[in-house]
Symmetry: C2
Subunit: 235 residues, 2 copies
């Protein structure tokens, strides 16, 4: 087993961005969240690591390397498995896009948890209503408009040149997540920004991704993760 | 002129993390924010870029390269100017730390803007009071405790091995910013986490950084940026 992914069980969460990259490479990996007592194993492992500890999951073990932070893991996998261009222009571009996706993901999370991740949604519903309105009216149009312009300018259906990159896989998952969490908002936005359906379908058709999506390894969205469907936060 | 940094004028903001790295390298660079009509120039430049547009400032021009996202710019400068180890173990570690610093910086920003960046603080004071309490009581102790453990484990006073990295320069700026924004909270936290003063002073003593801090190029903190001093959000 070449790689081991450590992440919370029961949600796609940020671990899913790493899973999609691992699945696309076809390299075998252990998904600790899918093993018995996965969370306990991870928490014990996090306590034992003293040289390069992760602040939070996900993190990836690759031989002696321990790599934390989602976008950093993807940077590593992108270099090793050609999920990003090799030249400076392309590899920094893909990473820039990934970090922008990470910012968007954090904003989506905070739309239902604007006060504290450690409090329940029910304890911050009033604040969430205000923040979710800002997400729907300002932030999502800004982010999706940006990625739509990038996809249009590239012309290939991919974010960087003519090949799939880890940023494309991540943006696919964001589209899936937003369609789950805010279906009415997304239906309107996808009428304005037409490149997302194309990117989404191109990723979903890739043989290894299609096999993964149809497998038991792909975990469904739910109201514990980043993308939560609270109808009152949608249009 | 080898590099040009594009960022908003009038605040240190996220541009400051890039400035500190550029200053440490000693390479000449144009700081567009410090030139006449800097914001106008930047906005015109952002509109004209179609291949690798930035979602938001800062971004750096380096010859034909245009690189956005703070941590990505630092990854680039770290490789070019030995502000990070060359080996995989070290370079992914420093980037992991930088992305954790970026998460912390976003949380600090959102403590005074928990609803929307586009609204005034005065329009979200109630929400900010709740979120700032969570920042003081839970998040800052968690983040600072983490970095303190890392510094203690490394033993060198630096976050990665025996040399300064771009993450050290960024953490220095976070310490400066937190001392400005939340002085009473920081006095308490620095009693518990004693490595920060050492790191801060080691960075401040580096000849090029010391020269920069004493120059007119270093912009002061104010209530327009990330680190804002609102006494009611402090202890």
């Amino acid at each position: 087993m070449k790689y081991a992914l450590y992440y919370w069980s029961g949600i796609p969460g940020r671990g899913e961005f790493v899973r999609l990259a691992l699945e696309e490479t076809g390299v075998p990996y252990a998904d600790i969240a899918l093993t018995k007592d996965g969370d306990k194993k991870m928490m014990a492992d996090m306590k034992s690591e003293s040289t390069h500890p992760a602040f939070a999951p996900p993190y990836l073990k690759a031989g002696k390397l321990v790599i934390g932070q989602t976008a950093n893991i993807l940077l590593f996998l992108g270099e090793r498995h050609s999920l990003a261009p090799k030249n400076d222009s392309g590899r920094f571009w893909v990473h820039q896009l990934q970090l922008t996706i990470a910012d968007l993901v954090a904003e989506i999370h905070d739309s239902h948890h604007p006060v504290a991740g450690s409090l329940y949604y029910e304890e911050q519903k009033a604040e969430a209503a205000r923040r979710a309105k800002n997400l729907r009216d300002e932030r999502l149009p800004k982010y999706l408009g940006y990625f739509d312009r990038v996809l249009t300018a590239q012309g290939s259906g991919w974010l960087a040149g003519r090949s799939v990159s880890y940023a494309d896989l991540s943006l696919f998952h964001v589209v899936e997540g937003l369609r789950y969490a805010l279906p009415r908002t997304m239906r309107q936005l996808e009428k304005r920004y037409r490149e997302f359906a194309r990117l989404h379908d191109k990723v979903a058709r890739r043989p290894r991704i299609a096999a993964y999506l149809g497998s038991g390894r792909r975990q469904p969205f739910n109201e514990e993760g980043i993308f939560r469907h609270y109808p009152e936060l949608d249009i």
